[in-house]
């Protein structure tokens, strides 16, 4: 197996594929399973006017929060951004455009985009702001709103393990949006905690097949952040 998908570091992995005004997808839920090293490299590249599709916007100083701070993002497509003060500030004073999207609609838009489905109908959001200006159609007596599939120029993904072919495995709830985003990027770049040889992952355990993955960077022992540390006492 060649190393043709393997890049030495995040900067190299993003070389030649970032440009102003492009659309990025960024995996993760809160700070769980975010491609933090790749996001830092996007910041260092200085690329701006970004449309970023991501469930959340990080927190101040971590994850996508750093791209908000550096004002590299012009539009966010997200379901929930309550954790980010800078986001609220930039949104309320008009510096940042936000497309609030119901979470399940967002993940289905990404799944559809990656699967070559241009649009679909869902009952989520019927009769709300979300449905404004969109086609509503009645199926079997119930109204559904049409939502478009989403793709991105580049998808940034975090995986627990990859082999050199780009077959991916995720860990616990760090899976979240990462598998769909891997399918919806014209170019998908993955940062992985463990990089192994083909054959080392049981093919039955592979969640994302390597066909969706173009570039891989190995980031061993990443610092993982906990937003809300909740515990129970030992009895």
């Amino acid at each position: 197996m060649s190393d043709r998908k393997i890049y030495a570091d995040a900067k190299t992995a993003l070389e030649g594929i970032l440009k102003d005004d492009m659309t990025l997808m960024s995996g993760g839920f809160g700070l769980c399973g975010i491609p933090e090293t790749l996001i830092e490299a996007v910041k260092d590249s200085g690329v701006k006017g970004l449309t970023v599709i991501s469930n959340n916007a990080g927190v101040d100083g971590i994850g996508l929060g750093v791209l908000l701070e550096s004002k590299q993002i012009s539009t966010m497509v997200s379901s929930y951004v309550g954790e980010n003060k800078m986001f609220a500030e930039q949104y309320l004073n008009g510096d940042l455009e936000v497309v609030f999207t119901p979470q399940g609609t967002l993940s289905e838009q990404i799944r559809a985009g990656g699967a070559g489905i241009p649009a679909f109908f869902t009952k989520t959001g019927v009769g709300t702001l979300v449905a404004e200006g969109k086609e509503v159609r009645n199926f079997d007596g119930e109204d559904y709103v049409m939502e478009m599939g989403l793709t991105a120029d580049v998808a940034l993904v975090h995986a627990y393990m990859a082999d050199k072919e780009g077959n991916l495995v995720f860990r616990k709830t760090a899976r979240n949006f990462n598998p769909m985003m891997a399918t919806a990027g014209k170019i998908t770049v993955v940062e992985v905690e463990h990089l192994v040889e083909p054959g080392e992952i049981d093919p039955d355990h592979i969640v994302v097949p390597g066909v969706y993955v173009q570039r891989i960077v190995h980031v061993p022992n990443p610092v993982k952040h906990i937003e809300k540390r909740t515990t129970r006492p030992r009895n």
Partner: protein, 214 residues
């Protein structure tokens, strides 16, 4: 006298049934997991991508890769499964989850729900709430009866809606209401009063029209 947060959660737990798959929202709804009757099998769904959610971890055993939809650290159980967010909402939208318990800012007498946005002020987003209320079989709202004296049970929601006609039951600190959707029009029914609360107390703090069915 009215119900405490714990008592509201306890009342909501009475709606659980053996074998239910349940999604709990942030705040008081989360407390419902403390009152699952002994011997009842309930699987909790966390919409980020987990079914079979366990309790908070012991101190020192937190795992950054294992959180619930409120971004709190949780644990797994022998029944746990993990899946993508798209699979998670296929479960929700597809009607495979029996019960969703969530908070609200406003509920109207026609079962409309508003809980995600205050224009020009709060810009957090709806998260998974719109999908949950649209797709889950039964939706229970647990909330304070008023917002510092201002009614939250209204004739019409004046905040942007989360869903139209989606609420099946409301549990407040003062009372329990059920929505009857069998007829042409939705009817809101008062079915229970909290300890020490009178019908007059409820009428005085509720803008919505309701039928008394105690």
């Amino acid at each position: 006298m009215a119900w405490t947060r714990e008592q509201m959660a306890q009342r909501a737990a009475q709606e659980l049934e053996d074998g239910f798959y349940v999604n709990l929202g942030i705040g008081i709804p989360t407390l419902v997991s403390n009152y699952i009757p002994e011997g009842m099998e309930i699987q909790l769904q966390s919409e980020n991508g987990m079914l079979g959610m366990g309790p908070f971890p012991y101190e020192g055993e937190e795992d950054a890769d294992l959180i619930n939809a409120g971004k709190q650290t949780v644990t797994e159980l022998p029944t746990t499964s993990y899946f993508s967010n798209a699979d998670s909402f296929a479960m929700i939208r597809g009607g495979h989850i029996n019960l969703s318990i969530l908070g609200a800012m406003q509920v109207a007498e026609n079962a409309d729900l508003a809980n995600w946005m205050i224009p020009g002020k709060m810009v957090k987003g709806m998260g998974g709430a719109m999908d949950l209320v649209a797709g889950v079989k039964k939706v229970i709202v647990v909330m304070e009866h008023t917002a510092k004296g201002t009614p939250k049970l209204l004739k019409t929601c004046n905040l942007p809606l989360t869903g139209q006609g989606v609420v099946d039951m409301v549990i407040t600190d003062m009372a329990v209401f059920a929505f009857d959707k069998e007829g042409e029009e939705v009817t809101m029914k008062l079915i229970e009063l909290a300890d020490g609360v009178t019908l007059e107390d409820v009428e005085a703090t509720t803008e919505a029209e309701f039928i008394v069915a105690l």
